[in-house]
């Protein structure tokens, strides 16, 4: 029975994708670009003079990714506080070392989160996660709406040399690691 339920859930996932909190998505779409700019080394991460905001998703979450794209464009209108940006929608399966990204935002995935984490580490870029749980897999930031908006950060990735956030950001985030959540 248990197997049946599990299989059902997997099937549903495959068939219909993950369910996302729209409010959370909007909050993340609104805040993450701002956090990106809190990196003192943002200049090193520009590609062709632009910020490439890469959103990785499962095939079924394309619409969600697109929604996010639209929301960011609507909010930022092509510029992150002076920097022109380009949103790059990439499926998890397509993510490779060739993928261009100044920052990466990962939607949910059962299989590729670690791949995203590795990608980010390799590139030395900030990796945002929709789901806080993914931080344990190696992603850097996530945001949760509790009584107030709470930013979470993976403590283990704090020392990535290519990323240098302003101190105040580090003082306001909540740190998590593999052992603690």
């Amino acid at each position: 029975m248990k197997k049946t339920v599990l299989l059902f859930l997997v099937f549903v996932n495959f068939a219909y994708g993950y369910s996302y909190d729209d409010l959370l998505l909007r909050a993340q779409a609104s805040i993450f670009p701002k956090i990106l700019l809190l990196d003192k080394k943002i200049g090193d991460k520009l590609i062709d003079g632009r910020v490439i905001y890469t959103i990785v998703y499962e095939k079924n979450d394309y619409d969600t990714a697109l929604e996010i794209n639209k929301f960011i464009d609507a909010n930022y209108n092509g510029h992150f506080n002076g920097y022109t940006y380009k949103i790059n929608l990439v499926e998890f399966s397509d993510l490779s070392s060739a993928t261009r990204a100044s920052v990466i935002y990962s939607l949910n995935s059962d299989r590729y989160i670690e791949k995203v984490a590795d990608f980010a580490k390799d590139k030395g870029i900030v990796a945002f996660s929709y789901d806080i749980k993914n931080l344990k897999a190696g992603l850097l930031f996530s945001l949760v709406l509790e009584k107030s908006t709470v930013l979470y950060m993976n403590k283990e990735n704090l020392y990535i040399q290519k990323i240098d956030f302003v101190d105040s950001l580090l003082r306001m985030v909540k740190f998590i690691d593999k052992e603690n959540s």
């Binding site: 809190l38 990196d39 107030s148 302003v166 306001m172």
Partner: protein, 662 residues
């Protein structure tokens, strides 16, 4: 300690008070400055705290504004408000719109003295301003600190005050020995040795005590020496005083008691008599033999007098002045004995011969005696002068002579004369002298008169003799010369002025006469009348004067000729122009045959020498007639004309009388 107006000002009190005042002032200044600094520091610390809080929280607030997380800002604000000193937190966005504002319950109460910190919020990792943080920090802590500081200060001041009191007591105790030493020395006397305390102290007090002790020893020694010296000096002073006293009463030349001694003895005596002895013409001995000889004779004379009276203990011999001695009879002898003593002394002295350098010198004396002890010296002196004047060798003072009154009268006349000179009351009166042949006025004699303020004319017989004895006489001569010459300056008539021998001997008068004669051009009108009796003794000087005046053109008359011992030999030598025959010969000429013989002889003698004769005192017609018969050239007298203040009157009267005679 010093004492002023009875108040003792302690040195230790002064020291402590001055240090206390200075210290209080310094402390006040230090505390005022330190309070200001401390308060500023406390304020700065509190402000710094508020600023630190604001700076600490500012990035978080900024990032929350940036990330648009107002609930986080509110949370942060609430966290801040947990600090009891934070009164309010206000966050504003870039449009000054309040994002969050929290205030404590004490906000309104303490807002005025609170610290307000404002921070501009910039976008993280950018310079873009995104808001503002206003933090109001309570001054409660500051007030607490200031109160604590004030309490500490008061405690410190109290501690200092206690310290000063203790210090003052210590200084007082330290300087107390000085007071004790001063008290001990207050009644110090060089005669009495005192035990000076604190000699063993090894400090400044000990030094002072030792120094005082040493000084005391020296003073004692000095005092002993001084006493010996004083004793010696007192003895010397007494000796010298005795010596000086003796000198005061002893004449150094003759070693006889002097005038002071005489006065002293007279003052002490109740009865007695006095003889004052004067050596006649002693000046001549001095002039001829010299003062050494004079002193020698005085010594010898005094020695002889001493030996004469040495056996009579009641007679004291004194020397009064140069040539004056006195014999004071301490017991009044009978008057006859007293007079005999004087006469015997005169005779004895006349027999004395003094030898000086082989010269035999004899002297004569004149004695004045007083037979009363009261004012004996003055009386004997008066008697002596009277004796001299009367050319007697001895005269006893006689109350009946009223000599004192005469002296007073003389002094009164001298005073009157001085006043008359000052007030120009001395004037010449003019008496005409007629030529017996032509019966015309030949000349005028200028006679002195004193016209008193009431117009009374005083005759010269009352004052001229007295004036001659005083210094005013020369002044009278000056006035008479001046006024007479001035009167006859413009009158074509001869006039005569009387001159005494004293005037002729006075160079100043002679010079002035010459000046006045020239000034008024009366050389050929003036005739000087010189008294025959006075001129004899000073023949040479008179002769010189006559010679000088004759050279000027003046003429000379011998006045009162025949009154004295007329010396025809002298007259022959003097180049005179007139002889005025004395009035005593003329006034009885009509009756006295002897007078007629004398006048005839004088006229004959004068005619032979071409000297004109003038008869004075022609007081009636019989005398005038006789004068003319004896061929006297000129006549003068009350019968012919009395002295008048103006010559015009005579001229008018004479004109009238001539008409009547004719």
């Amino acid at each position: 300690m010093s004492i002023k107006n009875g108040v003792i000002n302690s040195l230790s009190t002064k020291i402590v008070t001055s240090i206390g005042v200075v210290s209080v002032l310094i402390t006040l200044v230090i505390f005022s400055v330190s309070e200001k600094i401390t308060k500023d520091a406390f304020s700065g610390v509190e402000l710094e705290k508020a600023d630190l809080i604001a700076r600490t929280i500012e990035p978080l607030i900024a990032i929350n504004i940036y990330l648009d997380m107002p609930e986080n800002i509110a949370q942060l604000a609430q966290q801040l408000m947990e600090n009891r000193y934070i009164l309010s937190v206000k966050v504003l966005d870039d449009k000054n719109k309040i994002v969050n504002e929290v205030e404590s319950g004490e906000y309104q109460k303490d807002i005025e003295d609170s610290f307000v910190v404002e921070k501009i919020l910039n976008q993280p990792n950018s310079a873009k301003q995104i808001g503002k943080l206003v933090l109001v920090y309570s001054n409660k802590r500051y007030v607490e600190l200031v109160d604590k500081y004030t309490n500490m200060t008061i405690l410190l001041l109290l501690a200092l005050a206690v310290l000063f009191i203790l210090y003052g007591l210590y200084i007082k105790k330290m300087l107390a020995p000085l007071g004790q030493i001063a008290k001990l020395l207050k009644h110090y006397s060089p005669d009495k040795e005192v035990d000076i305390p604190f000699l063993s102290q090894n400090n400044e007090i000990g030094l002072i005590s030792n120094a005082l002790n040493s000084m005391q020893q020296k003073i004692l020694q000095y005092s002993k020496k001084q006493k010996n010296i004083n004793h010696y000096l007192e003895e010397k002073v007494n000796e010298k005083t005795l010596e000086l006293r003796e000198q005061l009463y002893i004449d150094t030349l003759t070693e006889l008691p002097n005038r002071f001694s005489l006065l002293n003895d007279i003052f002490k005596s109740r009865e007695g008599a006095l003889l004052v002895i004067n050596i006649d013409d002693f000046k001549e001995i001095n002039d001829f033999f010299g003062h050494v000889a004079g002193d020698n004779i005085l010594k010898k004379f005094s020695n002889r007098l001493k030996s004469m009276f040495k056996n009579n203990e009641h007679i004291r011999l004194k020397r009064l002045s140069g040539d004056e001695f006195a014999l004071l009879f301490m017991q009044k002898p009978p008057l006859e004995d007293f007079i005999k003593s004087a006469e015997k002394l005169i005779n004895d002295v006349e027999k004395m011969i003094f030898i000086y350098k082989k010269n035999e010198i004899s002297i004569r004396i004149t004695i004045g005696g007083a037979y009363q002890i009261e004012r004996a010296l003055e009386k004997a002196d008066i008697a002596l002068k009277s004796a001299k004047r009367e050319r007697k060798s001895f005269l006893l003072y006689d109350e009946k002579l009223n000599i004192e009154e005469l002296y007073k009268d003389n002094m009164e006349w001298v005073r009157k004369l001085k006043k008359a000179i000052e007030q120009d009351m001395i004037v010449p009166y003019f008496q005409p002298i007629f030529d017996n042949k032509s019966e015309e006025i030949a000349s005028y004699e200028c006679l002195i008169r004193l016209v008193e303020s009431n117009g009374n004319v005083v005759s010269p017989y009352l004052f001229l003799t007295i004036a001659k004895k005083s210094r005013v006489y020369s002044e009278l001569t000056r006035i008479m010369i001046e006024k007479s010459c001035q009167h006859f300056e413009n009158i074509d008539c001869d006039f005569s002025v009387n001159l005494s021998v004293d005037d002729i001997l006075n160079d100043e008068i002679v010079n002035e006469i010459k000046q006045k004669i020239k000034k008024y051009s009366v050389e050929n009108k003036i005739i000087f009348e010189i008294l025959e009796s006075e001129g004899i003794e000073n023949y040479e000087e008179v002769s010189l004067f006559i010679s000088e005046m004759k050279k000027l053109g003046c003429r000379i008359a011998i006045d009162d000729f025949g009154s004295g011992y007329s010396n025809f030999e002298h007259l022959l030598k003097l180049d005179i122009d007139y002889i005025k025959i004395d009035g005593t010969l003329i006034k009885n000429l009509d009756k006295d045959a002897n007078a007629q013989v004398v006048v005839e002889t004088i006229v004959d003698f004068a005619n032979r020498l071409n000297i004109l004769t003038v008869a004075e005192f022609v007081h009636n017609e019989a005398v005038l007639k006789r004068v003319k018969e004896l061929k006297v050239n000129r006549s003068q007298g009350f019968f012919l004309g009395i002295p008048e203040a103006n010559t015009d009157i005579h001229m008018l009267r004479h004109a009238d009388s001539k008409i009547i005679l004719k």
